[in-house]
Symmetry: C2
Subunit: 207 residues, 2 copies
DNA sequence: GATCAACCTGAGCCAAGTTCAATTCAGTTA
DNA sequence: TAACTGAATTGAACTTGGCTCAGGTTGATC
């Protein structure tokens, strides 16, 4: 279980990374459906059939983007909370880490949130299914990250006792809901969002 | 502005309602993409081209479902909070109303959440665009419902002063995030979810 | 400079949504 | 009851966009 997918190492003229970057731009800005697979190829500067050398399908590319973003989220959570003993401080650190992202990563989070439903049903092709299963495991990992944080705080007496699973889902839901509406070009800077959510989470959990 | 779309009144042999119901089932269970438009026709018992008598496209049907659900959400909020003076009680009533839904409505909320991104970009066809714009207005209406509730509570001194817009978005995000994972057949009854979220919202807002 | 794997392409296939001209059906008018 | 009307319905053809295939190019390695 929990086999971390190894990214295919890049041959010197591999366009895989460029394709992923172009796909993130298009999927994030225009939406997955609205993006023609051929537009991604065009952006990269290759024929559309060349895409199939790297990805089995448009959806396979999407799932890869989602899985990568989930991996990053989990890694960032772990790194941010690793050496923070105090539960409230750990919670704060985790929230701040969640919003410490680049513009490209904002797009990836948006893509992830907008297509979560893809992870529920099984896929027909092998490689798509592999990415889907990996992504699902990562979702559960991230959920567990948050519930564990809450459980720890509750058992230490820093947080009142509540259903940690349910409350964790709430906290996570609150945090990621931001990616539905947040735009880097919008009126509210991410730092402000981060502070607001941080406070809200603490009140939700530690009151 | 804010022109409420009038549902075409049903001629005695109109299948519009049946189509919408069948579409909600399919879109909600299998997902919009995974559902073949012809499957909906089959369920209703008509040929697939007959669908185009009622809806301009598969997407037009989806947008209609979303707009209807948003309308319902707004109406329920208004009804639930209408004669509740006390801000905390009004907040509680609003949350409870949000989770006072039938299984069919759970599906509609899921569909709505899974395709919010459709509302951002403009549509090519007239009727689709009309539904999209109406839905967007309703989204803003619902957002305003929640911020107004918070503003009222803050000005009455029942809630501490905070950015009501941002906090409102958070509360709403928390509430609707449930529809991503909740299943009527799942282990957690909706009543339990409702209570948890109600408490969380109060702590978030009134602490 | 031969070999092999990685990489790329043009031509065309196929599924699913959509359009259209023709037709049926229910209710209304004469 | 025959003629008429508009809503409802259909089969067949069309369109779009993701995808397959058979074969060609490139460049690292020996």
């Amino acid at each position: 279980m929990a086999t971390r997918i190894v990214e295919p190492e890049a041959g010197p003229r591999s366009k895989r990374a460029a394709i992923l970057a172009a796909a993130v731009d298009h999927f994030g800005e225009a939406g997955f459906e609205a993006t023609k697979w051929s537009m991604v190829a065009e952006r990269v500067g290759i024929g559309q059939t060349a895409l199939y050398h790297y990805f089995e399908s448009k959806t396979h590319c999407l799932l890869t983007i989602m899985r990568q973003e989930l991996q990053r989220s989990h890694d960032m959570f772990t790194e941010a909370t690793a050496d923070v003993e105090e539960p409230v401080e750990a919670l704060r650190a985790a929230v701040r880490a969640a919003y410490d992202v680049s513009d490209q990563e904002v797009l990836q989070m948006r893509i992830l949130q907008n297509h979560m439903d893809l992870l529920s049903g099984p896929r027909k092709s092998k490689r798509e299914e592999a990415e889907r299963v990996a992504a699902r495991q990562l979702v559960q990992l991230v959920e567990r990250d948050w519930t564990n944080l809450l459980v720890r705080g509750m058992s230490q007496g820093a947080f009142p006792l509540r259903d940690a699973q349910l409350l964790g889902a709430g906290v996570l839901g609150l945090i990621v809901s931001v990616w539905r509406w947040y735009r880097p070009s919008g009126p509210t800077p991410l730092s402000e969002v981060s502070e607001m959510i941080e406070g809200a989470c603490v009140r939700m959990v530690a009151t």
